[in-house]
Structures are given as C-alpha cells and as structure tokens.
C-alpha cells in the first residue's frame, strides 16, 4: 500500500493532546489569590498515533465523524498546531484552506484583500501583485476590484474566496470542508477545479463529510475515529465504512459515553450528537398500545441485515411486531423519507394481507420486499401498525426510528433511479410529408 515511489506528505505516529482546564484560571488575580492550587486539566486526546503517507500527485481523502480528530490532523499538518509526539514531513510548498476567505476584511476592496491573503500565505509582494489578476480572472470579478467587500453579494464573496484559495501556486493543498458552503453551481465549480488539480498532478488532502466527493475524486481515503486510523484504502470501502459507523453508532456512543464518564468519549459523542443525533431524537411515537413495533431493519438480497445498500440492490424492510391484545385485520405500513423530508416510498398491507388476525402476546415479523430504485441518500424509516379501517387508528406508530443509506458512485441527482432499458435504432427512415 505504501510502495508508491515518492511521498509528498508523510505523517509518522502523530499524537496530539488538548488540555481543557477544568476550572478556568483565566486571570492573574485568580492565579495570585490561589498560588498553590494547580489548575487541573482534562486531557483530550485528539490524535493517538496517526501514521500515513500521501504520494505525489495523489488525491487523498480524510473522513471521520465529528470529533474524530480529522480537522485537528489537518491543522497539525498545516503547522497551525504543534504536535506532542511523532513527526510530519512534506515535500513542496503547502497551502492550507481551513475556511473560505480567512482574514478577509469587509471594509477593504477586493484588491487589498487578495494582496493581504497572498502575503499571509507567504508570497513575495511581486508574486502577490501578479496573483491579483489571476484571482480576479478566475472569479470573474474584474469590474468590482475596487468595491469594498461589504458591498459584495454573498455569491460574489464566495466566488472570490474560492478563487483566492485555488489560484495559489502550491504543490500540496490541504483542504477542509470547503464544499460545505455554496450552492450547487458553486460546488460543481469546486469539483471542476479539483479535476484540474488532479490533472496538474498536485497533491491534495481533502477532509470532508461528502462521501460522493470522496468516491469521485480521491485515489485513496482514510477513515479516522477517536484519533485512531481505522482504515486506509480504496475510497469506496472507506466511505461505506464511514457511513456505517456514522449512522449506526451516534445514539449508542452518546449513551455509552455518558454512562462511562470518560471525558473524551463524552466530548466526542457530544460533538457527534450536535450533528446527527438530533435526527434520532425526533423519533415520534404514537398509538394506543394494542401492539408494539419492537424493531425494524433492512435486509439485502442475501438476507443479511444491513445499514446501507448500494443503489439498485434489491432489499427488504422487516418489522418485528408484538401484539398486546387481540387485533382483527390490522394494517402494517412503512414509509421512507429522504434527507429533504420528502416522502419517497409508502405502503401498507391493506391489499397484500387481509383477513389475518392476531391474539395478545403473539409476535410476528412483516417483510416488505421491493425493487430499490432509490437515489443515493439517507432515508428515515417510519413504521406503523393500525386497526382495520382507514389506517389512522394506530396501535403503534414510530416515525423515523431507523435509517437506511443508499449509496452510489454515480449519483444522478434525481429522487429515484429506476433501471433503464436503452435501445438504439439506426438508419431510421423518417417519413416526411412532402
């Protein structure tokens, strides 16, 4: 795996620890009043022995959940944080982009801002002045060069910021989450630029949550979790691994952390919770308690329980129901909502299963098999059991209590991706009415 000839970036056993003071001794007064009280610290191990190398011209992705240490790693590589242990080496000029438009001053016109930014990055003033034109060309903002940034529209600002970032003559680019901002058109431009960087054989290290970007652009990817390297390799397995880790463990991790009292676990879980756990928390449950949906899960075509599926892969949703009273002809239903909260799939059993009755204490599993034409996304799963009739008299109803991830290397951007049958007929004699 590491047999590539010349590495551009080499990270060898890097440890990074943050000291989080338990009681803030933030003033001299406190220090003087309590000279004997040693400030106590919580240690937060952000990185625990991270090692990897990135070859020259390689596009390398770093993925990981919130709080896993990926951004800290990038800041260490960029030289913004010092490391406690281990060594890092680079070969060539490094440029770091932690955020778009760092150090932009809204009261200054574009020209000054570009100059300042170039100086911050360490360019000599002659090169900096030359860069102004390149940046403005790329951003297509030549006519606004003397306009103060506060009068720019937000779209122009993002364009300028991105162009400042990309028009830099560095051999190694360290990029953190820039794709999170901007509209679809801007993101496309980012992708185009990434493709260009790849052609020019620049080395790029990209920290991201966007598995689509990882799979499309990265030659290799690395998954880190709680400061450890979990996996390095082909983008596809790494991103699948990430998705599994991400969507199945949030809730559990937060609960475990709270129970264990381990401070860095709590910190990691708290960060994760701020991002994703909220979705699990909005589970709504309703029903009169005549039955209980014990659990629900997805199976792939081989009958294995899965958290994620490839687009197009046939799948089955299974729900385990326990009845607490005798129920005649109940309706079982389930629905999938995509990330935009649109209802994509919904069905119930009023046609498929009728005349079935259940008695108290009985437990059943209902299988809903379907052709998976879903577009890649994360889907929230809702399931219900209702009394015979309109389907509104719920015995139990659980909204978004599970999720399933559909992934694809080639997203179409549409809501569904049905299988297509394409034919081509040549030499058509078109009859024209002439």
């Amino acid at each position: 795996m590491s047999s590539r000839a010349t590495p551009a970036v080499l990270v060898d056993g890097v440890h990074k620890e943050f000291r989080i003071p338990e009681e803030q001794v933030h003033t001299l007064k406190e220090r003087v009043l309590h000279p004997l009280r040693r400030p106590s610290h919580n240690q937060f191990q952000a990185l625990r022995g991270v090692s990897f190398d990135v070859g020259k011209g390689e596009f390398f992705g770093i993925v990981g959940r919130n709080g896993s240490g990926k951004s800290t790693l990038l800041k260490c590589m960029a030289g913004i944080y010092g490391v406690d242990q281990g060594r890092m080496y680079v070969d060539g000029r490094v440029s770091t982009f932690i955020e778009l438009g760092v150090g932009f001053n809204l009261d200054l016109p574009a020209r000054d801002n570009i100059l300042i930014n170039a100086t911050m990055l360490g360019l000599p003033s002659r090169d900096a002045r030359r860069r102004v034109d390149a940046v403005l060309d790329f951003a297509e903002l030549h006519e606004f060069v003397d306009l103060k940034l506060k009068n720019y529209s937000s779209g122009m600002l993002v364009r300028l910021a991105f162009s400042v970032m990309i028009q830099v003559d560095a051999d190694i680019l360290l990029i953190d989450e820039v794709l999170a901002v901007g509209d679809a058109a801007f993101q496309q431009k980012c992708f185009d630029e990434f493709a260009r960087l790849r052609r020019e054989n620049r080395t790029v290290v990209l920290v991201t949550h966007d598995m689509g970007a990882v799979e499309r652009f990265c030659d290799r990817a690395m998954l880190i979790e709680r400061g450890h390297v979990v996996e390095i390799g082909e983008p596809r397995p790494v991103s699948m691994h990430y998705l599994q880790l991400n969507f199945s463990r949030d809730a559990r991790a937060a609960e475990e952390a709270a129970a264990s009292g381990d401070p860095d676990a709590i910190a990691a879980a708290a960060e994760a919770a701020s991002g994703l756990r909220g979705r699990n928390a909005d589970e709504l449950r309703a029903g009169d308690g005549g039955a209980e949906i014990v659990s629900g899960w997805f199976m792939n075509a081989e009958g294995e329980q899965v958290e994620s599926l490839d687009a197009g892969e046939r799948c089955t949703f299974c729900m385990h129901v326990r009845f607490h009273e005798d129920v005649e002809e109940p309706l079982f239903g389930f629905a999938l909502r995509n990330n935009a909260d649109e209802r994509i799939v919904a069905t119930d059993t009023h046609k498929a299963l009728h005349g079935e009755s259940f008695h108290a204490g009985e437990e059943v599993i209902v299988y809903f098999g379907f052709e998976n034409v879903l577009a890649p996304d994360r889907y929230g799963v809702s399931a219900s059991v209702a009394r015979a009739g309109s389907g509104d008299a719920w015995l139990d109803n659980r909204e978004r209590f599970r999720s399933i991830i559909i992934s694809s290397t080639d997203p179409s951007g549409a809501v569904i991706d049905p299988p297509f049958h394409v034919e081509l007929q040549r030499q058509v004699k078109v009859q024209t009415t002439s």
Binding site: L28, I80, V102, I116, V230, R252
Partner: protein, 297 residues
C-alpha cells in the same frame, strides 16, 4: 461492525522521509524572517488604511486627539498652575510629551488584544506569530511619525533652529519603539493566558502618564525635598528617561537630560536595562508561548 472503531490502528510501513521538510508547528519567527516583516508591514498598513479611509480628513482627525489633549493641558498647566514659568518652549515640549505618550499608549493597548483580534488568522493559517504584535507597534509608529510633524512645525514656529542633536532625537524614538515592542510581546502573549492583563495595563499606563513628566519638567522634582533621590527614582522609569532625552535633544538643550539630572551616570543602567529586558524577556516569553497560542485562544 460496532467493533471496527476500536480496532487497532492500521499498520503500514512508511516510506523514508529523506529529502522532505519537517512540519514543525507554529513559531514566533517562522523560517523566513523576510516573510515575518512583510506580513507585519502588510497588516500594519492595512490597519492604517482602514483608519484613514484614504482621505486627507482622516489624517486631520488623527491629529485632533493629541492636539486636543495638548490644548486642555496647556491651559491648565500654563495659565492655572504656571508650570511653564521660566521654561523655554514649554508648549512644544508638552506637545512632544503627549505625542510620545500617545504612541506608547496606542502601541501597547492595541498589542494587548492583538492576538485575540486576529484570532481567525491565528487559528487558521500558519504564519510567524510575532507578526501580530509587531504589526500593532508598526501601525502606532506610523501614527507617531505623522504626529511628530506638527511638533516640528510648532518648534520651528516658536523660533528654534534645526540642530545636529536632532539626530540623537531619532535614536530616542528608536529606543521608544523598541521598548513599546518589548512590552507588546509580553502583553499580547500574556493576554492569551490571563485576560485581566488588559485592565491592569490600562491602570499602569495611567500611572505612567502622571509619573513620567509629560507636563512637568525634571527640575520641578529636583527642587523638592530629597530632590536628588526623587530624580534618581523618577528615571528608573524607561519612558521618563526617553522623554527627557527626547526633549533635551529635540526641543532645547536647556531641558535637563537624564545624564545631567541623575546623581551618577551609572544609574542610567536601570532604564536602559529595563528596555533591554523588555525586549529580550518579551521575545523569549513570546517564543516559548507562540506554538500554543492557536490552542489557548
């Protein structure tokens, strides 16, 4: 699947790092001193530009502050208290004192918060950290040079003639700027750890204003009981010594210089030593704490 996260790290043989540059983390100076100065210069000129909005009126406003203070103090001390009795060029010397003190005040007060104000840069870009307090002092120095223009104009208007001793005045200004820079290094990096440094320094500046002879002459103290002892103590304060030397060299030779007033020339070691200590100590402190600034902010 749930066990994957706690699996041991991926083992891999790393290639050799031969011929590669080691990433060392942030430092005070960086590896390229030119970059440090260029950066400090750019930051300072930007601040300067922002202040004046590119207009001549902006410059006038900048002058208003010391001139206004001068007007008030002049009225109080010259008409009400008669402090100017028998003193040559009292108004100009007063203005010079105010201008020099304004510089020290501005440079250090800006520097205290400077790392905080530029937090986004510090946390997101790797650059020589020393550029931040250096830029604050540099920006204040630009203002000082502008404010010295009316001082010289007043001086010439009062009938003084340019003399060779003005070259020594330039040296005084250099020492003052270095002293301000030394203090700025200590204050800026100290503020990151101890936030009450700012109010404490404000108080110290107030005391310095009244204790450094901005509006009175050294001879006033010398005339008191235990005058010589008071003068020797008075000149322990580097700013007082610099101010007296500046007046002696620029305004008029009749203004007592520290060497004339001190009981022994050797006592000059104290203020000079303090300036050197602020520079060396400030640099060592800043260099020691610079790598952690991004995390501690």
């Amino acid at each position: 699947m749930s066990a994957t996260a706690t699996e041991p790290d991926v083992e891999l043989a790393l290639p050799s790092a031969e011929g590669m540059r080691e990433v060392k983390g942030p430092t005070a100076l960086g590896d390229d001193p030119q970059r440090l100065f260029r950066l400090a210069w750019t930051l300072a000129t930007t601040d300067f530009k922002l202040k004046f909005f590119g207009s001549f009126l902006g410059y006038l406003w900048q002058l208003m502050n010391p001139l206004l203070l001068f007007g008030v103090l002049f009225l109080v001390f010259s008409f009400a208290l008669n402090l100017d009795e028998g003193v040559r060029y009292y108004p100009v010397a007063l203005l010079l004192g105010i201008v020099l003190f304004s510089f020290l005040n501005e440079a250090t007060s800006q520097a205290v918060r400077s790392l905080m104000t530029r937090e986004t840069l510090v946390r997101k870009i790797d650059f020589p950290r020393l550029a931040v307090p250096m830029a604050s002092v540099l920006a204040a120095t630009f203002n000082l040079l502008l404010n010295l223009v009316p001082v010289v104009v007043f001086l010439l208007a009062s009938g003084a003639t340019p003399s060779w001793s003005w070259l020594l005045f330039v040296l005084c200004i250099v020492v003052l700027v270095l002293f301000a820079f030394g203090m700025s290094m200590i204050l800026s990096v100290g503020f990151v750890r101890f936030r009450d440094i700012e109010p404490i320094w404000t108080v110290i500046l107030q005391v310095l204003f009244y204790a450094s002879g901005v509006f009175f002459t050294v001879d006033t103290i010398a005339g008191q009981k235990h005058g010589q002892l008071l003068v020797d103590i008075f000149f322990c304060n580097p700013f007082a010594a610099i101010l007296a030397a500046a007046r002696h060299t620029l305004v008029d030779g009749s203004w007592t210089s520290p060497t004339q007033a001190l009981s022994s020339d050797w006592l000059l070691v104290i203020p000079v030593g303090l300036v050197v200590a602020s520079l060396v100590g400030g640099f060592l402190l800043f260099r020691a704490l610079a790598p952690k600034v991004a995390e501690d902010l």
